[in-house]
């Protein structure tokens, strides 16, 4: 099996005037479940998008390592499965057709994809819904479909952006159990969440991101020791004491669009 890991070296990512991530250095090792924990706009999604090559760093490098050889992050995609926050399912296709479409794009035959999908679907108690149209799926069913889609090509690394956000207790628990199982089987899972308790329960290592920088990383025990607190939540608060920024990175708008927006909003406020 190909051993793969990801290396983020001194990465800064800016969107116009806003710096979403600043001088971030972190490595992700094979076989660990890593939690990216932080508030809204902390930079978790930006980091995940850098890890799957959707964003280019403004400075620094993001690299994959396959067979101990550094590879471009785009060439890592065959080894990575991604579940974005917006699950992104096609409503006119069935769950299986959504999964099959992505596995085909990953170069995996339908039989192999089906075998993998069926196995994980049983673990998620979702095997009876695979041939249903995704239109009208609940948030939990959508999340399960997206998870199966990300797993169908047998990735070594799974990137999950808020996978339990908006899920009911049972669905969230099922997803957490699956993530833990993948970690126990030697898979690498990078998992962004707001929920510290969940991170503590599932992750081997937690990375606290705040205002675009990594404030601390380590096991829950290491984080509590670093903050000299007995409780992880207390430790998190102590490590992120400064006020969280409220501005989210704007889209990469063009010069004319930016000038037009500024003219109408007089410096970025709302149109009065």
């Amino acid at each position: 099996m190909v051993k793969a890991l990801l290396k983020v070296s001194d990465v800064t990512k800016s969107f116009g005037d806003v710096t979403a991530l600043s001088s971030v250095t972190v490595n992700f090792h094979a076989g660990e479940v890593v939690g990216l924990v932080g508030g809204n706009g902390a930079g978790k999604t930006t980091l995940l998008r850098l890890l799957c090559g959707l964003y280019q760093p403004t400075s620094g490098t993001v690299q994959g390592v396959v067979d101990e050889q550094p590879v471009d992050i785009h060439r890592m995609r065959e080894h990575v499965g991604v579940v974005p926050e917006a699950t992104g399912l096609y409503a006119r296709l069935t769950a299986w057709e959504n999964i099959r479409y992505h596995s085909r794009l990953n170069g995996i035959g339908d039989d192999m994809a089906w075998t993998r999908t069926e196995r994980f679907a049983k673990l998620l108690n979702f095997d009876h819904d695979l041939h249903r149209s995704t239109r009208g799926f609940s948030r939990g069913m959508r999340q399960k479909t997206a998870l199966l889609r990300a797993l169908s090509h047998g990735p070594e690394i799974l990137l999950l952006d808020e996978p339990t956000g908006g899920l009911d207790v049972t669905s969230a628990r099922t997803v957490r159990k699956l993530v833990r199982k993948l970690g126990d089987e030697g898979g690498t899972v990078i998992y962004s969440t707001h929920n510290l308790g969940e991170a503590q329960q599932v992750c081997d290592r937690i990375i606290i991101i705040h205002n675009g920088t990594i404030r601390a990383e380590g096991s829950p025990q290491e984080l509590m020791a670093a903050a000299q607190r007995d409780d992880l939540e207390e430790a998190y608060v102590a490590l992120t004491e400064d006020v969280a920024r409220t501005d989210t990175p704007p889209e990469d708008e063009g010069k004319i669009a930016r000038a037009w927006r500024r003219m109408l909003t007089r410096g970025g406020g709302s149109i009065e």
């Binding site: 959707l54 964003y55 995609r77 992104g88 409503a91 057709e97 794009l105």
Partner: protein, 419 residues
């Protein structure tokens, strides 16, 4: 190395086909879109050319069944009276009391405009006999309200009777002078059938007729048919959040773009073919099934197809690029809707450019060049300079449009989802 590259190329091609197939399946499963994109264009020309005339005939028949009232002011000659008979008119005779010309309505204006449902008068015919050398000579005017359908109908029926009466008066005057109508009004006349004198074959005429329609249909329907799928596959994917997951696959963005382009172009081409089939059926129906097959050589057909393909590449790429830049379906629609005019305007204009002695630079201008190329192909004009110019420039425009679309598809903010 060469083998690796070939394998990579094959992989990319396979992914382009996977994307295109999925988009087409997605498209076909939405019956409303299929209805709008395939069935409507197939039916639109038969509806315009067949159903509309039938409908208008029915409306005209309905209007002619109304009994309308016409007031005749002044003396009503017996000859005219006989012509007014049988036109479903109630004639009321009154005295002529006019100061100015007969056309000035005066107080009669209120009587026609009253909208009173009682003793309504739909039109007023004013008649005044004057002295002349003719057998009879009259001044007349018909007062009516052009915004009132019944008043207008009354005017038409009355005018028809007056003109028939006038022809009788002319013929009577000519007869008094021992002349026939043709001797007086058609002393130099065409002998035989004018159509027989035209050496163009039925096939040539059919090709010329198509040259008037096809470029416009191709331009109009390619641009309009591509809008909805272009938006759905780009801004729609962004809005629904499916784009991010798609971009995370190992498929290159250019392969994704080409797959989407292929799907949109297929939909647009099927729509255009449907509309052409509908158009030909409607024309054939109107000509009573007597439409001859147009005389177009194989070269002409190939050039026509090439021009349509290059135009489709160009248009679909531009629409995809514009739709990719939009942040929402609504924004894309509001930009692409009016943009259609940018393509249709030049096409309409180019329809009226004389092909005889046409300057070569016309074949360089975008959109104009394709329209003129289609016209020349249908008319059997194969000028090597023109062909070289429109093929090379269209190819350049198509490549430019694809590169622009590709650049837009590589934008980082493509992963942003408004939802």
């Amino acid at each position: 190395m060469g083998v690796v590259r070939l394998s990579d190329a094959r992989k990319q091609l396979s992914r382009i086909i996977i994307v295109a197939k999925k988009e087409l399946v997605d498209f076909v499963r939405d019956w409303r879109t299929v209805l709008a994109m395939i069935l409507v264009p197939l039916l639109i020309f038969p509806a315009i050319f067949i159903a509309l005339p039938l409908f208008l005939q029915g409306e005209a028949a309905e209007l002619s069944s109304y009994e309308l009232t016409v007031e005749v002011q002044g003396e009503l000659p017996e000859d005219l009276s006989s012509h007014l008979d049988g036109r479903n008119l109630i004639i009321i005779q009154t005295e002529l009391l006019v100061d100015g010309t007969l056309s000035e309505p005066g107080i009669d204006s209120q009587r026609l405009n009253s909208g009173d449902s009682g003793d309504v008068i739909h039109a007023i015919l004013r008649l005044l006999e004057i002295d002349s050398n003719a057998s009879q000579s009259w001044n007349y005017a018909i007062l009516s309200d052009s915004t009132d359908e019944l008043s207008l109908e009354a005017k038409i029926r009355t005018l028809d009777a007056v003109l028939t009466w006038e022809a009788d008066v002319i013929n009577a005057t000519l007869a008094q002078n021992n002349l026939t109508h043709d001797e007086a009004f058609d002393p130099i006349h065409w002998d035989g059938d004018q159509d027989t004198a035209d050496v163009a074959s039925g096939g040539d005429l059919a090709a010329m007729g198509l040259a008037m329609f096809i470029p416009l249909v191709v331009a109009m329907w390619t641009t309009t048919a591509a809008i909805q799928p272009s938006i759905d596959l780009t801004a729609g994917e962004r809005e629904r959040g499916t784009m991010e997951a798609l971009l995370c696959t190992p498929t290159s963005r250019s392969a994704l773009l080409f797959g989407k382009w292929l799907a949109v172009a297929t939909v647009a081409c099927v729509s255009v073919l449907g509309q052409m089939a509908g158009l030909l059926f409607a024309i054939n129906f109107l000509m009573g099934g007597g439409l001859e097959a147009p005389n177009i050589s194989t070269t002409g057909v190939l050039l026509l197809l090439l021009s349509v393909i290059l135009f489709a590449i160009f248009v679909v790429a531009i629409e995809l690029a514009v739709a990719v830049r939009a942040h929402s379906v609504r924004e894309a629609g509001s930009i692409l809707g009016p943009m259609v005019l940018i393509f249709i305007g030049p096409t309409l204009f180019a329809q009226f450019v004389n092909l005889q002695g046409i300057e070569a630079w016309w074949f360089v201008l975008p959109v104009f060049n394709i329209t003129l190329a289609m016209r020349e192909a249908l008319m059997g004009i194969y000028d090597p300079v023109h062909i070289f110019m429109w093929v090379s420039t269209s190819l350049a425009y198509a490549i430019g449009a694809i590169l622009w679309a590709s650049k837009q598809f590589n934008r980082e903010d493509l992963v942003e989802s408004l939802s």
